[in-house]
């Protein structure tokens, strides 16, 4: 066997070593290890032309000006880490600039430098001379090694992108799922408990919508950095989506009590970090957070269920502002399931024609029907009639309230038109429809209302909108603007449930409303309740002062009516007169 065959064989093995691994670190380490063994080296070092981070290689350049130590095998020499050895780096840079291929230093150690074309420098450290012919075997292999490094770096970047959120550089949902699955398997084997904390930012959406996404993105980046600051070694933080983050605490103790305590400590650190102000440019913003958590392993609980449980607990924390960090319990899921089913049925109710409108008349002291309030009725399949007090709040949590509101308005206008065309008595003033505060504040509500009204071709004065006092004060300026527009058209406006909110004379004066409706709680047994009588008197006086019609609602007894007449009320609504009934019944009463 001649030397040429030996060199070719050596090249072949080195070339094979390059193909063994799929990432840059492993590719380089494997190649270096084979060099170490085959050349019987004392050490081998690589310096690579790194980009901005150690993640990527710079674009190939003619001069290797950004060389950084990448890896040494062995890691140490005489107890010191090679990565901190400046002398070696100086020699490498000298080689890169002068192409001086060989150095001999103390202790009979020989250093040989080889260029990794356009990528870096490979250094052999040997206690003996490496024959020149053997050294000549390297350049062809190093050209391939260079390509492999570039390819692996690209793969590593792609791998990084596939596993990290581009904005915050935190792990993404994909990586979280993968790591959580591994940890879950481990926790099922050992006696340790892990925890998953679902973190949702409060007030972030408003900032994002009102101030802009640029600021929102800056805040999310800061949140990511702050979360990393509180992260313990071995734990993981991921951006789950939008303004949702997940903290995976891989091990928080052996008992549930210990785990709860540790999770609370983590949550406390997170909240402490996240609630500090975010200064972006010249402005500062405050963003809080709600945290729900779940411990694992739990019987038959997989990754998706764990995250969902923590998410459910987070919503509980968001709902109950006194508990910013809430642990998941099965009751939460049951409630959520019920709510989900309810919402599903509510949504289906519109298309299934399960809604209906009943009208409850308002009468004057002569018994004439002067108005009729449209009341929504839902007969839920398999459950029967459902109270609006039950489903309206749920509808208001989603966009369903808009669909329902649209349906109600269309139906009221249609019914009003039918009656109007049939001919209604002169004392009948209007059909009243309840408008939720959320709907009133919705962009485009006024425009939509006017469009429907015009489409129905009825006089605006035949319509009255009733708004509860509480919902009015949530965005009073917007409400004033909307009501003003409608009032100018001739639409009546009433404040419903008057007396139960936080009425301010200032805004009552500003609101262009035409009537108020005394809440039923003050009407109930008013004949025997001096306090309710006092309140009723005050509301009546207020109406007189502001020129508002005052209607009392919820009258069920003759004594109540007599008392109210005695106090000076002249419009009434309640079961004592009429129960809510379908449009056909109202038609009969009016025609």
């Amino acid at each position: 066997m001649n030397s040429a065959l030996e060199i070719i064989s050596l090249q072949h093995e080195l070339a094979m070593a390059i193909n063994n691994e799929l990432n840059l670190n492993a590719t380089v380490a494997n190649f270096m290890h084979v060099c170490l063994k085959r050349f019987r080296l004392r050490g081998v070092h690589t310096f690579l032309n790194l980009g901005e981070s150690s993640l990527t290689l710079s674009e190939p350049e003619d001069t290797l000006t950004n060389l950084e130590h990448y890896l040494s095998i062995p890691i140490r020499d005489n107890g010191k880490q090679w990565s901190t050895e400046k002398g070696l780096k100086e020699r490498v840079l000298n080689f890169a600039s002068t192409d001086n291929r060989e150095y001999l230093i103390a202790d009979n150690r020989h250093f040989y430098f080889f260029s990794i074309p356009q990528r870096g420098v490979l250094v052999f450290e040997s206690e003996c001379i490496i024959p020149a012919m053997v050294r000549l075997a390297l350049p062809p292999v190093l050209a391939k090694f260079s390509s492999a490094c570039a390819g692996r770096a690209a793969e590593k970047e792609v791998f990084h992108q596939a596993n990290h959120d581009a904005l915050t550089q935190l792990s993404n949902r994909h990586k979280l799922n993968h790591i959580l699955a591994e940890v879950l398997v481990q926790r099922k084997k050992d006696t340790q408990i892990g925890a998953i904390l679902f973190i949702d930012l409060n007030q972030f959406k408003s900032i994002n919508d009102l101030i802009g996404h640029d600021v929102g993105d800056q805040i999310l980046k800061s949140v990511g950095k702050r979360l990393v600051r509180v992260m313990k070694a071995d734990d993981l933080i991921a951006r789950f989506g939008g303004d949702e983050f997940i903290y995976l605490a891989k091990s928080v103790g052996k008992s549930e009590d210990e785990a709860d305590q540790k999770v609370k400590n983590i949550a406390s650190s997170i909240m402490s970090e996240l609630t500090q102000v975010y200064c972006i440019g010249e402005s500062c913003y405050s963003v809080g957070c709600s945290i729900g958590y779940e411990l694992f392993p739990r019987a038959n609980c997989n990754v998706v269920e764990l995250i969902r449980n923590a998410d459910v607990a987070m919503y509980e924390a968001k709902r109950d502002k006194s508990r910013p960090c809430v642990k998941y319990s099965e009751d939460m899921s049951k409630k959520l399931l019920e709510k989900t089913n309810y919402t599903r049925d509510l949504k289906a109710a519109i298309s299934n024609n399960e809604f209906d409108l009943h009208y409850q008349p308002v009468v004057d002291k002569h018994g004439n029907i002067v108005a009729a309030e449209a009341l929504l009725r839902w007969t839920r399949e398999h459950y029967g009639p459902v109270s609006p007090a039950e489903y309206i709040p749920i509808a208001e949590e989603s966009d369903l309230i808009y669909q329902i509101s649209d349906w109600v308005l269309e139906r009221v206008f249609r019914d009003a038109k039918i009656l109007y065309e049939k001919g209604i008595p002169s004392y009948f003033r209007h059909f009243a429809v309840n408008i939720s505060g959320r709907e009133l504040n919705r962009d485009g509500f006024v425009k939509k209302f006017i469009k429907l009204l015009k489409h129905s071709d009825i006089p605006p004065s035949l319509v009255s909108i009733e708004i509860t006092e509480n919902t009015l004060i949530n965005n009073i300026e917007h409400a004033i603007e909307a009501i003003s527009v409608l009032s100018k058209m001739g639409v009546h406006t009433a404040i419903d449930d008057f007396g139960t909110g936080y009425s301010s004379l200032t805004y009552l004066k500003k609101l262009p409303v035409s009537s108020v409706k005394l809440d039923r709680t003050f009407v109930s047994d008013i004949h025997s309740d001096p306090d309710n009588q006092s309140i009723a008197r005050m509301v009546l006086a207020l109406g007189d002062n502001f020129g508002l019609q005052v209607v009392s609602e919820g009258i069920e007894k003759e004594q109540e009516l007599n008392c109210l007449i005695g106090l000076g009320f002249d419009q009434f609504q309640g079961f004592y007169f009429h129960r809510p009934a379908p449009i056909s019944a109202l038609t009969e009463l009016l025609t």
Partner: protein, 375 residues
């Protein structure tokens, strides 16, 4: 000698757990702060009850079960040797080494070695029959680094069945390696004395210790052709080991250093060696004369230091098989060359020592010696 080792040494042909307990009590009462335990037996069941004693030890204990022991220049079969040490020895145990991932740790600083990484002298005792022992010593070198002194050997049983053989405070363990930090400088020497008979050949297809082809021919066929015609041609597992005893492989590196590799067995036409042979390695068939091999030991010992009082010897069991009576001659030679040293050691299944290149080598058929000045 600057220290009287007698109170610190316990030797008994009784290798029971009771004897081990006595030995530990003896060296502990002499003031030992740790103990090296070397046991010789060919049956793992003789050590069945060691675990409780080892786990109950209040001082660090480390060592192994080997085919035979050496003490004061003499061979000891079926014996127990406990050497008390006047210093607490830090050591790290690595379990299930054949299941650990190779090279992965190379890219980062490993915490696994952090407890001893500031030392410069190390003893390594590995399960000699673990398929991963070379990978393990590679990893040890990668982390503890160059410029250090390493010596050690492979423990195990001569039936070549992998069984618990590494002695630790956690008990007797299999597929395990331990790295102990020596507080004393190790003056190392190693030699094998074997010479090239024929070659070079190219190990064209290998996988760890398995040679599949030599010069693109089936390995066994090529080996049969390469050894002298008068030798019995190996055809069974025992035969190849016997033949290899006289005609082992030699693997030549770039620096012409030759590392001996014993052939342990055959599987089909593959030859299984006691140590890794890299693909495309330049290999030779070696031979040796007993006189030359023994004489080489003298040369390898090099410069002697008067303060050295202990010599720890790892003598390959297959070298002993080849030398036969020559082993006693070799031990006498070592004793005469190191008159101030207490000689103790083992017949090992593979030796570990810092090589000429500075890296750690896994050797066969060698004798490796560390001389220490214990005080």
């Amino acid at each position: 000698m600057t220290i009287n080792f007698k109170p610190f040494v316990y030797i008994d042909e009784d290798i029971s757990s009771e004897s081990l307990e006595r030995g530990l009590a003896r060296v502990k009462s002499a003031g030992s702060l740790s103990a090296l335990i070397l046991c010789a037996t060919d049956k793992a069941e003789n050590c069945n009850n060691y675990d409780a004693v080892l786990r109950g030890s209040k001082i660090p204990v480390f060592g192994g079960v080997f085919p035979q022991l050496l003490y004061d220049g003499k061979r000891l079969k079926e014996s127990l040797l406990v050497l008390g040490l006047p210093t607490k020895i830090d050591y790290i145990t690595f379990k299930n080494i054949s299941k650990s991932s190779r090279y992965n740790a190379a890219t980062t600083e490993s915490n696994a070695f952090s407890a001893i990484q500031n030392n410069k002298n190390f003893f390594l005792i590995v399960d000699g029959l673990s398929p991963a022992n070379e990978a393990f010593i590679d990893e040890t070198y990668q982390h503890l680094g160059s410029g250090n002194n390493y010596i050690g050997g492979g423990a195990g049983y001569t039936n070549f069945v992998q069984q618990p053989c590494i002695i630790t405070n956690e008990g007797l363990l299999a597929d395990t390696a331990l790295v102990a930090a020596s507080p004393w400088d190790l003056n190392l020497s190693t030699c094998h004395g074997w010479e090239i008979l024929s070659g070079p050949y190219l190990a064209t297809d290998t996988e760890n210790g398995r040679i599949k082809t030599i010069n693109y021919q089936p390995a066994l066929h090529a080996y049969k052709q390469a050894i002298p015609q008068s030798t019995d041609i190996p055809s069974t597992v025992d035969d190849v080991f016997t033949t290899s005893t006289s005609y082992p492989f030699g693997v030549q590196g770039i620096n012409d250093e030759i590392i001996v590799r014993d052939a342990l067995s055959i599987e089909g036409d593959d030859i299984i060696c006691a140590g890794e042979i890299l693909p495309n390695s330049k290999i030779y068939i070696l031979h040796g004369s007993k006189e030359k091999i023994v004489a080489d030991v003298r040369c390898s010992l090099g410069k002697k230091n008067e303060s050295e009082n202990l010599a720890l010897i790892f003598h390959c069991i297959s070298r002993d098989v080849f030398l036969g009576d020559g082993t006693e001659q070799e031990l006498k030679l070592i004793k005469s060359e190191l008159p101030n040293c207490l000689l103790l050691g083992v017949f090992s299944i593979g030796e570990i020592v810092t090589g000429e290149s500075g890296a750690i080598n896994w050797l066969n058929k060698s004798v490796s010696i560390a001389r220490l000045a214990v005080n």
